[in-house]
C-alpha cells in the first residue's frame, strides 16, 4: 500500500500541501522553542559558588538548603513551553482537519479500493502511509528551518530581556530529534481518526455520482463535541469562584474546550446560522449571492472545514491575550485604587533609594507618611517543603497610611523581632492567621520562628511577608517610596514634588505624582506583555493563515466540474468570482463571530475571578492584535479563493463537464 500512498500524494498534492506546510511549520516552531528551552537549561542556575544559603526544616523533619542569587529562568521557560504547547495543539488541530477533509473528498477512491478488494486495514495503512509520506519531508524541512531560525531566535530572545542572563545557542541535535519525532507523532495522531473513517467507507460509495455530504455528523463527533461542551461549560462555571490563581487555567482551557466543541458540533448549528446570514446576500446579489448561500449550506463538510480554523485560531489567541491583558489591567486598577499617596519617589540614578533619601523625605513638614519597602527574598518552610518567597521590610502602619489596606485578622502595629505580617493571599494559601507561626530564614542566616501579628489585604501593595526592621541589613534598599502629603499640601502635589526634588537633590531622586507614575509603569508593563503575547500568538496566527489557505486550496481542487457547469449554464465569470467571495466572507464571518462568543464567555468567567478594590475588574482586550489577525484570516481566505476561482475559470473553457475527471 506504500506505493499507492506515494502515488496518491503525488496526484493529490493540493490536498496534502496544507498538511505539509502546517507540519513543517509545527516542527520548525517546536524545534525553535525546544532549542531556546535547551539554551535556558544550559545556563548554570547557580552562577556564583558560595552564595549565602539557609537551611530550613519542613514539617516532616527534612532539612532543605536554599541559596540566594539563583537565577530565575522559570518565567522565560514557561513562556517558551507555552509557545511550544500552543504550536503543537494547533498543528494537531490543523492536520486533523485537513486529513478529515481530504478523506471526505476522496470517498469514491476509497470505495473503489474496497471494491477491488482492499481490506479496511489496507485502506487504513494507505492513509497512514500518505501521512508519513508527507510528514517525513515536512519534518526535514522543519528541521532545516530550525537550523536557520534557532540562533536568530536566541539572539532575539536576548534582545527582549525576557531572560535574566544572555543565552547561548546549545547543540541543536536533541531539539531537532525531539521536534522531528514530535512532528511525525503529530502527523500520525492527526491522521488516526481520518484513517479510521477511510477504512469504514463502503465499496458502494465508488458508484455514487456526487460527493454527498449527508453524514458529516458522526456519533463519535457528536459524543466528543458534547463532552467538550460540558467540560468547557463546567470549567467556565467554576472559574469565577476559584480565585485568581486557579481561574487562569480554568478560563484558558475552558475556552479551548468550548472552541473544540464549537468546531466538532459545527455541522449541527452552522447550516441554520448560514441560512440566516444568507438572507441579506440573496437580496443584495440575487445570482451570485444565492449560489454562494446554497453552496455553503449544502456542502456542510466544506463549510465546517472553512469555519473551523478561523474559529480555533481566533478563540485560542483571543483567550490567551484577553486573560493576560485582563490580569495586567486588573492588577494595575487595583494598585491605582489602593494608592492613597500622592507622590512616588524614584532614584534618579541606579536602582535604589538610600536610607538618607528616605530620611530626608520624612523630614519634610508637609509629608504625612512615607512607605518604602525594602524587598528581599527569604526561604519559608511549610508542612512538607521549603520554598522561596518575596518579602519586604517595612512598618505595616506606614504602608497602611500610604495605601488602602484592610486588616483581615490581628492588628496593625509596628513589627517587633519575632513577628511578621502576611498578605491575605499568603495566609489563605498556606492556612495562616493571626497568632500562627511562620518559619522563615534569611539567606546567610538562621531559621526564625515568627508569630503572625496581622493578615493584611492590600493586593500587590502588600508582599507575602512583611518582616521587622532587624532584617533590613539583608534587604536591598527600596526601589521607590510612596509619599503621603498632609491635607493642606495635598492640593499642590505637583509643587511639593518640585520642592521635594530640590530638597533631596535632583541628582538623587525623581519625584512624580502617583497618577503619572502609574501611566509610565503601565507602558513598560504593556511592552513586556505584548512581547510575551507576540511569542505566543505570532506562530499560531501563521497557522490560521495556512489552515485557511490550505482548506480553500483543497476545496477548490475539487470544484472544477461545478464551475465549468456554471459557466456552461451562462453564469458569468464575474458572478462566479463574486460567489467565491461571498462564500469565503460568510464562512469567515461566522468563524469570527463564534470565536468572539466563545472568548467573551471565557473572559467573563475569568473577570469574575479577579478582585479590584472598590469595583469590578476591567476587561482588557487586545483589539489591535485580534482585529489584525481577523483581517489577515479574511484577507488570506479571499485572496486564495479568488486565485483558485480564477484558475478554475481559465480551465473551464477547455474542460468538459461530463464524465471524465
Amino acid at each position: 500500500m506504500w506505493r499507492i500512498s506515494l502515488y496518491s500524494v503525488r496526484h493529490y498534492w493540493a490536498l496534502f500541501a496544507g498538511t505539509f506546510v502546517a507540519l513543517a511549520l509545527g516542527v520548525a516552531l517546536i524545534g525553535t522553542s525546544a532549542s531556546a528551552l535547551a539554551a535556558t537549561w544550559a545556563v548554570p542556575t547557580s552562577p556564583r559558588a558560595g552564595n549565602p544559603s539557609v537551611t530550613l526544616t519542613d514539617g516532616t523533619g527534612t532539612a532543605h538548603t536554599l541559596s540566594s542569587g539563583d537565577l530565575d529562568l522559570g518565567g522565560v521557560q514557561s513562556v517558551l513551553a507555552m509557545a511550544g504547547v500552543v504550536s503543537a495543539f494547533v498543528t494537531v488541530f490543523v492536520i486533523t482537519g485537513t486529513c478529515a477533509f481530504g478523506i471526505a473528498l476522496r470517498r469514491r477512491d476509497m470505495g473503489l479500493l474496497r471494491m477491488v478488494g482492499a481490506g479496511g486495514p489496507q485502506v487504513r495503512r494507505m492513509v497512514l502511509g500518505e501521512s508519513l509520506a508527507v510528514a517525513v519531508p515536512a519534518a526535514l524541512a522543519g528541521c532545516a528551518a530550525v537550523v536557520v531560525a534557532a540562533p536568530v531566535t536566541v539572539e532575539a530572545l536576548n534582545g527582549t530581556g525576557l531572560s535574566p542572563v544572555d543565552l547561548r545557542q546549545p547543540p541543536l541535535l536533541w531539539p531537532l530529534v525531539f521536534a522531528a519525532a514530535g512532528g511525525l507523532f503529530m502527523a500520525v495522531l492527526g491522521t488516526l481518526a481520518a484513517s479510521r473513517r477511510a477504512a469504514r467507507v463502503r465499496p458502494t460509495e465508488a458508484l455514487r455520482e456526487a460527493d454527498l455530504d449527508a453524514r458529516t455528523m458522526t456519533a463519535g463527533r457528536a459524543v466528543t463535541g458534547v463532552l467538550m461542551l460540558v467540560t468547557g461549560a463546567v470549567m467556565l462555571a467554576l472559574a469565577p469562584g476559584a480565585g485568581a490563581e486557579a481561574a487562569t487555567p480554568l478560563a484558558l482551557f475552558g475556552t479551548m474546550a468550548l472552541a473544540v466543541a464549537a468546531t466538532l458540533l459545527g455541522p449541527v448549528y452552522l447550516p441554520p446560522l448560514l441560512a440566516l446570514m444568507a438572507l441579506p446576500l440573496r437580496w443584495a446579489d440575487p445570482v451570485a449571492g444565492r449560489l454562494a448561500a446554497e453552496s455553503v449550506r449544502t456542502s456542510r463538510r466544506r463549510t465546517a472545514s472553512l469555519v473551523g480554523p478561523v474559529l480555533a485560531i481566533l478563540a485560542v489567541v483571543g483567550a490567551f491575550t484577553t486573560v493576560l491583558s485582563t490580569t495586567g489591567a486588573a492588577t494595575e486598577a487595583d494598585d491605582r485604587a489602593r494608592t492613597v499617596a500622592q507622590l512616588v519617589v524614584e532614584p534618579a540614578r541606579g536602582d535604589s533609594l538610600s536610607a538618607d533619601d528616605v530620611r530626608a523625605l520624612r523630614a519634610d513638614p508637609r509629608v504625612a507618611a512615607v512607605s518604602a519597602p525594602s524587598a528581599l527574598e527569604v526561604a519559608v518552610a511549610g508542612p512538607d517543603s521549603v520554598w522561596k518567597e518575596q518579602a519586604a521590610v517595612e512598618d505595616p502602619a506606614a504602608l497602611a497610611r500610604t495605601h488602602r489596606i484592610s486588616v483581615v485578622d490581628g492588628s496593625l502595629e509596628a513589627l517587633r523581632p519575632g513577628t511578621v505580617a502576611v498578605s491575605r493571599e499568603f495566609a489563605e494559601w498556606y492556612g495562616h492567621r493571626a497568632g500562627s507561626t511562620v518559619t522563615y530564614g534569611l539567606f546567610g542566616g538562621r531559621p526564625v520562628k515568627a508569630r503572625v501579628v496581622a493578615v493584611l489585604d492590600g493586593g500587590s501593595a502588600v508582599p507575602p511577608l512583611l518582616l521587622p526592621d532587624g532584617a533590613r541589613d539583608a534587604a536591598a534598599d527600596p526601589s521607590r517610596a510612596a509619599v503621603l502629603l498632609d491635607e493642606e499640601a495635598a492640593g499642590s502635589a505637583r509643587a511639593v514634588a518640585a520642592e521635594l526634588t530640590a530638597r533631596v537633590g535632583a541628582e538623587r531622586v525623581r519625584v512624580v505624582p502617583s497618577a503619572q507614575w502609574f501611566g509610565e509603569a503601565a507602558t513598560d508593563q504593556d511592552r513586556l506583555n505584548r512581547l510575551v503575547l507576540g511569542v505566543l500568538t505570532v506562530p499560531a496566527s501563521l497557522y490560521a493563515l495556512i489552515a485557511v489557505a490550505g482548506t480553500l486550496v483543497m476545496s477548490y481542487s475539487r470544484r472544477g466540474g461545478e464551475i465549468a457547469g456554471m459557466r456552461m449554464l451562462g453564469v458569468s465569470a464575474w458572478q462566479v468570482r463574486r460567489m467565491a467571495l461571498w462564500e469565503t466572507l460568510s464562512t469567515s464571518t461566522l468563524g469570527v463571530l463564534i470565536a468572539a462568543g466563545v472568548v467573551a464567555m471565557g473572559a467573563r468567567a475569568y473577570r469574575g475571578a479577579l478582585t479590584v478594590l472598590g469595583g469590578e475588574a476591567p476587561l482588557a482586550v487586545e483589539w489591535g492584535m485580534l482585529s489584525a489577525l481577523t483581517a489577515a484570516c479574511v484577507l488570506a481566505g479571499v485572496m486564495v479563493s479568488l486565485a483558485a476561482t480564477g484558475r478554475l475559470l481559465r480551465q473551464a473553457g477547455v474542460m468538459m463537464v461530463a464524465s471524465r475527471r
Binding site: L112, M115, V116, G117, G119, G120, S659, R661
Partner: protein, 248 residues
C-alpha cells in the same frame, strides 16, 4: 457463443432475495423474492425499465449490498451472511467489476490500476502479465497514462484488463457501455465476450441497450423487483420486442 445446457452449474445463485430501501413513506421494496442463477462461463444481461431493481440485483449478487432476506450463493459461500472481512476476501479474489464510470483510481497509471488486485493480494507483480492484459485490450502503449488522460472507452478497457489479471470467477458490469459511443461500446462488448469465451469466466451485465444485450448468452428481464422473463441466445430485435411488450 457458448452453449447453455441445463447441467451447467450457476456461478452465482440467488434464492428468494428481497431488498427494500427506506423511503419517505416507509420502506420501498426494490427486490421481491428474486430467485435466479447466473450460469458459469456465460454472459448474462439483466434488463428492465428504470427503477426495476437491476442495479440492486447486481449489488446483492456481488455482495456489495446485503439483502433483507434470501441467500446469495457464490459457489458454496453465502454472501448474504458474510461479514465485512469475508466479503473483502471475496471481492479481492473471486469477483471483478466494470462500471459505467469511475472504474479507476485517478492517482494510479493504467499499469498500476491493472496491477492493483495483485498488490492487494500481496502477490509479486509480474510486469509481463500486466502488460499482456493491457495488450489484450489494446492499450499496451497507454500503460503510463493516468485515467484523466484516457477516453471513457479506454478507461473501461483498463477496467477489463484489471479483471483479466485478477482472474475472478465472475465479473459484474453495470452499464459498461452506458456512456460510450457506438464504436467504443462495440469494442467493450467484444472484450467482455472474450472474457467469457477465451478466458472462460462468467459475466453478469446490466444494460439498457438491446443491441448490447444481443451479445449475451441469456437475457433476464426484471420489472418491479421481479424476474418477468428470460431469453436465451437473444437478438436485438427479440430483446426490443420483449421490452416494448412490458413497457406497454
Amino acid at each position: 457463443m457458448s452453449l447453455l445446457t441445463d447441467i451447467q452449474l450457476p456461478a452465482v445463485q440467488l434464492a428468494a432475495v428481497s431488498k427494500s430501501y427506506p423511503g419517505a413513506a416507509g420502506s420501498v421494496p426494490v427486490l421481491r423474492e428474486v430467485s435466479l442463477g447466473f450460469s458459469q462461463r456465460a454472459l448474462t444481461a439483466v434488463m428492465g425499465p428504470s427503477g426495476s431493481g437491476k442495479t440492486t440485483l447486481l449489488n446483492c449478487a456481488a455482495g456489495l449490498d446485503r439483502p433483507d432476506s434470501g441467500k446469495v450463493l457464490l459457489g458454496d459461500t453465502d454472501l448474504a451472511v458474510c461479514d465485512e472481512r469475508e466479503l473483502t476476501a471475496v471481492r479481492r479474489g473471486r469477483i471483478g467489476f466494470v462500471f459505467q464510470q469511475f472504474n479507476l483510481l485517478p492517482m494510479l497509471t493504467a499499469f498500476e490500476n491493472v496491477a492493483l488486485p495483485l498488490r492487494l493480494r500481496r502477490r509479486s507483480v509480474k510486469r509481463d502479465r500486466v502488460m499482456e492484459a493491457l495488450r489484450e485490450v489494446g492499450l499496451a502503449d497507454k500503460a503510463d497514462r493516468r485515467p484523466a488522460q484516457l477516453s471513457g472507452g479506454q478507461q473501461q478497457r483498463v477496467a477489463i484488463a484489471r479483471t483479466l489479471v485478477a482472474e475472478p470467477e465472475i465479473v459484474f458490469a453495470d452499464e459498461p457501455t452506458g456512456s460510450l459511443d457506438r464504436h467504443s461500446g462495440r469494442q467493450i462488448m467484444e472484450l467482455l465476450r472474450a472474457v467469457v469465451d477465451r478466458a472462460g469466466r462468467t459475466v453478469v451485465m446490466v444494460t439498457h441497450d438491446p443491441a448490447v444485450a444481443a451479445c449475451a448468452d441469456r437475457v433476464v428481464f426484471l420489472s418491479d423487483g421481479q424476474v418477468v422473463g428470460r431469453l436465451d441466445h437473444p437478438t436485438a430485435d427479440a430483446v426490443a420486442r420483449r421490452l416494448s411488450m412490458w413497457e406497454r
